[in-house]
């Protein structure tokens, strides 16, 4: 029987689809009977989906700075391809 600690260690591979059929089966069996691990895997999955957006959007100032530097770089290229 899989231990809860092992579920935590394998959750990354589970969500990445990297477990073998047998490993996935063992993990699913554990999750059916263990509500703590069920909660861990569910909340962990949501957290991973939030990470790509965790840095938020750039401010108008930051955007302007990038766009200005872009224009200057274009000019300094002197129209070369």
């Amino acid at each position: 029987m899989l231990k809860c600690r092992e579920v935590v260690h394998q959750a990354d591979a589970l969500l990445a689809g990297e477990l073998s059929g047998r490993e996935r089966f063992a993990l699913r069996m554990h999750i059916i009977i263990c509500r703590h691990c069920r909660r861990y895997v569910r909340q962990f999955r949501h957290l991973l989906r939030a990470i790509p957006r965790m840095h938020g959007q750039a401010s108008e100032n930051e955007v302007r700075r990038v766009m200005t530097a872009l224009k200057n770089a274009d000019k300094s290229m002197g129209g070369q391809p």
Binding site: K3, C4, R5, E6, V8, H9, D12, H36, C37, R39, Y40, R42, Q43, F44, H46, L47, L48, R49, A50, I51, P52, R53, M54, H55, G56, Q57, A58, E62, V63, V66, M67, A69, L70, A73
Partner: protein, 204 residues
């Protein structure tokens, strides 16, 4: 292009390829901070801005040839990594991601037999949007990222925020695939622990 599509960060590829300034501004708005985090993880905070600025210039030039085989975020992250490596080469620095001796972030949450001693609490609003909307939690997360071992943070930014595959990360930076996985796992579980603690106590 609908307003929702813009706020969701779905890019208008055709407008970008035409060289539309407002579409490019949207692209910058949506990805700049993540690219800064990626660059910071590799070259450090002092050089990150230069790296990302050069990457935007390269990306702007290369956009008409963007094939759409990978996500734009991943494509941009690759350009940032190339710029970062060029800068490191110039200054004769090297990045190698080392495994640290830290214990597992959730080690104290298990009993000796491997069962939970302190299981995770139920998060109030566990959806990704719900997590992102809590500004205090976002502050806690940024502080945690700063205090994390640099190797762990680099893996989290490259793989989870930047969307690069393990193979690619291992090719670009000196690290084995198994160490890369351990570092990423530790970084992620540190975030989990923080969110769990925040949900329980309302504090970092």
């Amino acid at each position: 292009m609908s307003a929702e599509a813009v706020s969701e960060g779905i890019p208008d590829i055709q407008a970008l390829k035409r060289g539309d300034d407002s579409a490019f501004s949207d692209l910058v708005r949506f990805h700049h901070r993540t690219l800064m985090a990626v660059a910071t993880a590799i070259v450090g905070i002092d050089d990150a801005e230069e790296v990302v600025q050069n990457a935007w210039i390269k990306a702007h030039k290369a956009l008409p040839g963007f094939g759409g085989r990978s996500a734009l975020r991943t494509w941009l992250t690759r350009i940032v990594i190339n710029e970062a490596r060029m800068l490191l080469r110039k200054s004769r620095r090297e990045v190698s991601l080392q495994l640290d001796d830290d214990q597992h972030p959730l080690a104290d949450r298990f009993r000796e037999g491997g069962h939970w001693s302190k299981p995770p609490v139920t998060w109030h609003d566990e959806s990704p949007d719900g997590l992102l909307m809590q500004s205090e939690l976002a502050d806690c997360l940024s502080r945690l990222l700063l205090s994390m071992p640099a190797s762990q943070r680099a893996m989290l930014e490259l793989r989870d925020a930047g969307g690069l595959e393990f193979d690619e990360i291992c090719n670009e930076l000196t690290i084995s695939a198994s160490n890369a996985r351990v570092l990423l796992h530790r970084a992620r579980t540190q975030l989990f622990k923080l969110v769990d603690h925040y949900q329980e106590t309302g504090e970092c």
